[in-house]
């Protein structure tokens, strides 16, 4: 029973693997397949040509058809294997195709042309990564400028948000004052109105304040997210009041208590909020789309989505750009997730 307990609660028993470990690992491996598989496929697809992306059914790896050089032809010809008829087994280059029939050439004998039906030949394909999807991006626009704008917005807005939200959360969790519940309810209450409808009023306010087409127009409203206050407040509640009282006995100022005790003890929640804030700002699309209209202010997400037209979308470029914008934030996550580990468990418990 104690082992079941350890499954439901904390850690693996020392030594041999218990069945709960097997269950856990099975779940995790299933998770890789279900959660990570599509992401891996996305990355592979970003190396596919438009043709390959439109293909039914989609294939896992990117392919391209082989070509053969034949004397007398300027361009290489598409290569096929003949699977039926007198040329069976030969590799041929196709010169023309019309209406279900192909005209082909055996490379060793460039003068003679054969007419075959399309079901007699099979294309020869190999795995080929369309790296031009990526290189085009750097030719087409100022990637570094967009990267800088995104980074500046993300870093500034995250720092601002963490500071402001943790101060508010501290006030709402560790002080008794009149209006506390109302403030909290109003904070949660604004979450109920969907962002979609708030966009236009918010746009008018930001324009009125002169922040249209300025990176600050994205940074400052972004720092006002109610979720952060709520999340941190709920975590700070679990910090025992005795720790604060002890510090007050030592004549520590309230700011010092906040900065030296509350913040370090809330590390896991702050790490989580930092991850979320970075992700929100980095991936933010709808809001920057309405506030930023000048290329020099564009973020990566705006540049990425400019591949979507009215009638057609440039998927190869869009996917390559998606992968590129995903990399930095994935790295940030890998780094920050380590901090979701040290909390009260190691510092304040005993």
């Amino acid at each position: 029973m104690a082992r079941v307990l350890s499954f439901l609660t904390a850690t693996r028993g020392k030594g041999r693997l218990h069945w709960t470990d097997w269950v856990s690992y099975a779940y995790l491996i299933f998770g890789i397949f279900l959660m990570f598989g599509p992401v891996v496929w996305l990355v592979l697809s970003s190396f596919k040509s438009a043709n390959e992306l439109d293909r039914f059914p989609p294939r896992f790896l990117p392919y391209a058809q082989e070509t053969v050089e034949v004397d007398g032809f300027d361009d290489p010809l598409l290569a096929f294997t003949v699977v039926d008829g007198e040329l069976e087994g030969e590799i041929v280059g196709q010169t023309r195709r019309a209406a279900g029939r192909a005209e082909v050439i055996v490379p060793s004998n460039p003068d003679e042309r054969f007419r075959l039906t399309v079901d007699q030949i099979e294309p020869i394909e190999r795995v080929a990564f369309a790296t031009e999807n990526y290189s085009q991006l750097f030719e087409r626009f100022n990637f570094l400028k967009f990267f800088w704008n995104s980074t500046f917005i993300t870093v500034t807005a995250t720092l601002l948000m963490l500071l402001v939200n943790s101060m508010a959360a501290f006030a709402l969790s560790k002080y008794e004052f009149r209006g506390r519940t109302s403030v909290l309810l109003i904070v949660i209450g604004t979450l109920m109105i969907p962002q979609t409808v708030v966009l236009v009023p918010l746009f008018l306010i930001v324009t009125e304040l002169g922040m249209f087409n300025s990176l600050w127009g994205v940074i400052i409203p972004g720092a006002a997210t109610p979720t952060g206050v709520f999340l941190l407040r709920q975590y700070m509640i679990t910090i025992p009041d005795e720790i604060l009282d002890a510090a007050r006995m030592d004549k520590a100022s309230e700011w010092k208590i906040f900065w030296r005790i509350i913040i370090p003890l809330s590390a896991p929640a702050i790490a989580v909020l930092a991850i979320l804030a970075i992700m929100w700002r980095w991936n933010d699309f709808l809001w920057p789309l309405i506030v930023l209209t000048r290329t020099e202010n564009f973020t990566l997400q705006l540049a990425l989505n400019s591949f979507q037209g009215e009638l057609q979308t440039d998927w190869p470029s869009l996917l390559a750009m998606t992968v590129l914008t995903l990399l930095p934030i994935a790295a940030v996550f890998m780094f920050l997730q380590k901090y979701i580990a040290t909390g009260i468990a190691s510092t304040g418990g005993k």
Binding site: D54, F203, F212, I290, T293, N305, F307, E310, Q312
Partner: protein, 420 residues
């Protein structure tokens, strides 16, 4: 562009002129791309800047969503760009800069004719927009499938029923999956609907769905009996756009009703997988064998600080040689009558695509006057949306065709009441 400003400054300073004259007029062009349009305009803008020192045209490439949803809000708040490429031609009329005083009005009237009306609403009858890409709807046909099946392709003057019968026979005889497919869009059904008797306007010239029922009946029953690829309309909801290009490219559809803008994609992606060609829009019981015109245009906005510069740039784009070059490079149909009659040699396209584009251009005279008027009607976006939503509901069986049409009429009534 920076270089231009620098040289200008140096030149002016060298002549000992007042420094104030050297400050460049910056003009912001909000552009969206369905292909390479914005790149081409950026290139042309550089040439314009070289001819017009002191004007700096900056092309901001945005997602189409920004043009459709945010541009109207920005214009209302007075923070719009100086010019933009738009598709809601009549809907944004109140913000357009009238170019009449800045350009050669006769040249514009003679060159752009009918399309100028698409930008006009009510008593605002000036010259507002240069229609930069004309589109027209029409069918793509997989000729290889017809040949494999040994069935003769219906010829000139064939009706929708003729095509449906022929395409179904092709599917019987080959391993294609769907006889027909049509983009999920209210704009796309407009041509066929007119062929079936839709009037789209009432006696006072207001939008109406009178006469649309016949086509709705036919279209829903085609989706039911498998003549139409049901996925396209039935697997989506709301007023979202969906096309069937992927199915056509994979050789699953015999007859695909879309439009001229797909030519480039077909050319690149079908390759030599099969032969495809463009035929004229089929005819219907009500007579006209009409497609539906459409497209996008470049407009200036009244809020701009540099109306002369904006007008000068649009006028530059409208000049016959520049327009012809842009058309050839972006592979669009020309709305400029002079360019159209001279014919366009499109860049980087196969003979098949050149033929297809010419085929679409050749179908223009068949377009019914109703279709032209509908394209120029400021309320058409509302009507496109209603068509798609309600017809889809009939296709999936949420509403009967009659109920769907009744709802469409009341939706339209409510929309018109609000937008007055």
């Amino acid at each position: 562009m920076k270089k231009t400003i620098l040289t200008t400054t140096a030149m002016v300073a060298g002549l000992g002129m007042v420094a104030g004259a050297a400050s460049a007029q910056e003009v912001r062009f909000m552009c969206y791309s369905d292909g390479n349009e914005c790149e081409v305009y950026d290139d042309l803008a550089n040439r314009f800047e070289a001819d017009n020192p002191g004007i700096d045209v900056i092309v901001d490439v945005v997602p189409y969503q920004a043009i459709l949803e945010n541009l109207p809000v920005q214009l209302a708040a007075g923070t719009g760009p100086d010019l933009a490429k738009v598709t809601d031609l009549g809907g944004l009329n109140e913000y357009y800069l009238d170019l009449t005083d800045y350009v050669d009005a006769d040249y514009w009237e003679n060159s752009f004719g009918e399309t100028l009306n698409w930008y006009r609403v009510g008593d605002r009858q000036g010259i507002y927009g240069m229609h930069s890409q004309l589109t027209i709807t029409g069918p793509f046909v997989n000729a290889t499938l017809f040949e494999q099946a040994g069935i003769e392709m219906p010829g000139e003057g064939a009706t929708w029923d003729d095509w449906a019968t022929a395409a179904s026979a092709v599917v019987e005889a080959t391993d294609a999956d769907f006889p027909m497919a049509m983009d999920r869009s209210g704009h796309r059904v407009a041509g066929p609907a007119i062929s079936y008797g839709a009037k789209y306007f009432d006696a006072e010239g207001n939008g109406s769905f009178d006469g649309f029922d016949a086509f709705a009946e036919a279209f829903v029953s085609w989706n039911e009996d498998g003549t139409m690829a049901r996925d396209v309309w039935a697997s989506q909801g709301g007023s979202t756009y969906a096309d069937a290009a992927q199915e056509f490219i994979n050789g699953e559809v015999v007859f695909y009703y879309s439009g001229s803008w797909q030519v480039g994609r077909m050319d690149e992606q079908v390759g030599d997988f099969f032969d495809w060609q463009v035929v004229g829009s089929p005819c219907g019981p009500a007579g006209p064998c009409s497609g539906m015109p459409g497209g996008a245009g470049v407009v200036g906005f009244e809020g701009t600080e540099n109306p002369e510069a904006v007008a000068a740039f649009i006028d530059f784009l409208a000049q016959e040689d520049v327009y012809a070059e842009a058309t050839a490079r972006t592979r669009n149909l020309p709305a400029h009558l002079g360019v159209a009659s001279a014919g366009v040699e499109f860049e980087d396209v196969s003979p098949a695509a050149q033929g297809a584009l010419n085929g679409f251009a050749g179908a223009l005279p068949d377009v019914s006057p109703i279709a032209f008027a509908y394209q120029g009607y400021a309320g058409n976006r509302a009507m496109f949306g209603i068509t798609v939503e309600r017809v889809s509901q009939a296709i999936v069986g949420e509403l009967s065709v009659a109920d769907a049409m009744e709802r469409a009429a009341s939706d339209l009534e409510a929309a018109m009441a609000e937008s007055q």
